[in-house]
């Protein structure tokens, strides 16, 4: 196996860390020095070699540790994974999409052999080897969506299309930015987006939904979203707010560089073949301010974005309480020099 997987935690002693390679390939979300909501959608996969945009489902050094963290969260709260009965077929579609993509993109980590509906799956990093019958749920230890998403980084929402809307009828959600599957399950696109400020009035959601409804098989898309998280914690759920909310108060000018993380979501959209459902993977990348500022372009730009951001967005994203400490810290990396277009670091 070529890839090395980190031994690290996303809770308790928080030993999560990024290697120099992980820093270089971080999906920095800002292509200019200001930020406002927009319908920022582009084709997926596709991007420079080594970036997380290159493959359908990016696998990186955090893979094994993230899967262990998901296991802990699910053991404490099984409702983080739910699938309404009519979504099982979409679960099989998702399992096929992920297994086929990973076996093709990472042949030294995953293999898939198919003989009709008799499938043989090997996941080397997690030490899994399984024979099962495709479309027969009795041959797996759990439902198909749960089975494959316990082996894939990122959260997953499966959307059922009806009445010209999308309905969140299934999901595996353990690394979310303060929203709850148990609360949102069964809601439609406008209902689950209701807490977001400004965007509905700007027409962002009307346009985004129209776009999503027209996504066809064989064309996939992505967008980046971001927020701020104190400590490298994947499970920032409303259910566990009492565990992570108070940690916001532990940020000081001395420790902000290590403790404050930029949390980036690489969201992708896939139309699934048999169910005609939409799959919406939400992959989370975490990097602290110190590591971000190691790339001069990113340090300058992040300072300007967070300094000038609309207060409603800082409030919604939950970092308004620490905004001054964060911006003061980042100002030391901003010499006022112009930044180059695009998200990639210059060096």
């Amino acid at each position: 196996m070529t890839m090395q997987f980190n031994d690290e935690t996303f809770r308790g002693d928080y030993t999560y860390h990024n290697s120099p390679e992980a820093i270089r390939r971080f999906p920095f979300p800002f292509d200019q020095d200001t930020y406002m909501y927009s319908v920022n959608i582009e084709q997926h996969p596709g991007g420079p070699q080594g970036t997380p945009f290159e493959k359908m489902f990016d696998v990186d050094e955090h893979y094994v540790a993230e899967m262990k963290d998901r296991e802990i969260t699910l053991a404490e709260d099984p409702l983080r994974c739910q699938s309404l009965p009519h979504m099982e077929l979409a679960g099989w579609d998702l399992l096929e999409l992920i297994m086929v993509s990973k076996a093709r993109d990472y042949p030294d980590l995953f293999t898939l052999h198919r003989d009709g509906n008799d499938w043989h799956w090997v996941n080397k990093p997690l030490g899994i080897e399984k024979n099962f019958t495709f479309l027969d749920a009795t041959t797996l230890p759990c439902g198909p969506m749960e089975y494959i998403t316990r082996q894939t980084q990122g959260d997953f929402a499966l959307l059922h299309e009806r009445d010209n809307n999308l309905w969140m009828d299934a999901g595996m959600i353990t690394s979310q930015a303060d929203w709850s599957l148990d609360f949102d399950v069964g809601m439609n696109f406008f209902e689950w987006h209701a807490p977001v400020p400004k965007a509905r009035k700007m027409g962002v959601f009307d346009k985004a939904l129209k776009f999503l409804l027209a996504v066809d098989q064989g064309q996939h898309y992505r967008r980046l979203n971001w927020t701020m998280t104190v400590n490298p914690r994947l499970d920032t759920s409303p259910e566990n707010y009492h565990k992570w909310g108070p940690e916001k108060r532990t940020v000081t000018p001395e420790n902000v560089g290590q403790k404050q993380f930029l949390r980036v979501e690489l969201q992708t959209f896939f139309r699934l073949p048999r169910s005609n459902a939409l799959a919406f993977p939400i992959r989370c990348y975490l990097m602290n301010l110190e590591d971000i500022a190691s790339k001069p372009k990113w340090g300058r730009r992040l300072h300007r974005v967070l300094r000038d951001i609309d207060p409603a967005l800082a409030e919604y994203k939950g970092f308004a309480v620490n905004q001054k400490i964060i911006v003061d810290y980042l100002s030391q990396f901003d010499d006022g020099a112009p930044t180059t277009p695009g998200i990639f670091p210059d060096v």
Binding site: A214, Q219, N276
Partner: protein, 315 residues
């Protein structure tokens, strides 16, 4: 739109007016599987333009070995179906889109009632295979004028829950009898002439069915009409739309960049803003709301036409 270059593997006359076509990958590779009710868009090059029509898939949705469609010859149409009937033969190459679905089954339903009139039987041929595989309860009703016209009969399995109604033989379809007494949670799907779709809508409304349990697909190809001109705002170019062309086809022939999927007024992809309109837009789509139609600031070029002196599009 992702495209597939396939080979015509079989052509078969199903009835005097309907032919079945089977397409396969030329190298024998497996094609993307699909969901019941999905359609394909077929490209038909004619001179310097490409005509594109959408047809429901009638083959097994989980079988990637080939795609099948059934095409009814429309002698008064724009020529798409005539092209399929007269120009396409076994062994030819043909370009199609990947399958896309605007008429999917709602798998939450307790029971599915499928009602097809005439060539409107086509989307149900893939749906019933999916329902069989998913082991969902359903019944299908197929109405046609005469046995000779009922091309679908040869494609339907013989089973107690498959009902054929031939009006010439005195067996007219009785919607009241079909819909009354269905268990709670039943969904009904209709495809065929507008009259059939509205009759099912009326009947289910009378019986108090929720609107969300009533689905329909009025599968229409763009209608021909009088020729007209449009102006493309960005270039100032005037594009002429011929009688047997859709506005979308004319824009494509003039190399104007425009998106599409269904080409039948149902998916919303071709939605275009109107920047000037002196005349009347003839809206033929199923996408825009009544208010949007009346405002004349939006048009669906795949279906709609224009009568008047000036129409300018934001393209």
């Amino acid at each position: 739109m992702k495209k597939l270059c396939l080979k015509v593997a079989a052509v078969e006359q199903l009835s005097p007016l309907v032919k079945r076509f089977r397409f396969e990958d030329p190298t024998g590779a497996s094609l993307p599987v699909f969901s019941g009710g999905a359609h394909l868009t077929v490209e038909m090059p004619e001179g310097d333009m490409i005509r594109r029509n959408s047809y429901s898939l009638i083959s097994d949705p989980y079988d990637g070995s080939g795609y099948e469609i059934a095409v009814r010859r429309e002698d008064k149409g724009r020529g798409g179906s005539l092209y399929m009937h007269t120009k396409v033969a076994e062994g030819d190459e043909i370009t199609v889109s990947v399958p896309s679905n605007l008429f999917q089954l709602d798998l939450r339903a307790r029971k599915h009632v499928l009602i097809g009139g005439g060539i409107g039987i086509t989307p149900f041929l893939s749906q019933l295979r999916q329902l069989d595989m998913e082991q969902k309860p359903y019944e299908l009703h197929y109405a046609a004028r005469s046995r000779e016209e009922a091309a679908g009969i040869r494609l339907l399995p013989q089973a107690a829950h498959i009902h054929v109604h031939i009006s010439e033989e005195g067996a007219r379809m009785d919607l009241g009898a079909i819909l009354d007494g269905q268990p709670l949670g039943t969904h009904v799907y209709t495809c065929g002439p507008d009259g059939l779709i509205s009759a099912v809508a009326d009947q289910t409304a009378r019986l108090g069915w929720p609107k969300t349990s009533v689905h329909s697909e009025a599968f229409t190809a763009p209608p021909p009409g009088e020729p007209f001109d449009v102006v493309v705002k960005s270039s100032g170019k005037t594009v002429h739309v011929k009688a047997d062309q859709s506005l979308l086809e004319a824009l494509e022939a003039a190399k104007v960049e425009i998106d599409y999927s269904c080409r039948g007024g149902a998916c919303g992809r071709c939605h275009t803003k109107v920047t000037a309109c002196d005349g009347r837009i003839l809206h033929n789509d199923h996408w825009l709301s009544d208010d949007e139609r009346a405002a004349q600031q939006d048009i669906m070029p795949c279906m709609s036409r224009f009568k008047g002196t000036r129409l300018e599009l934001d393209l």
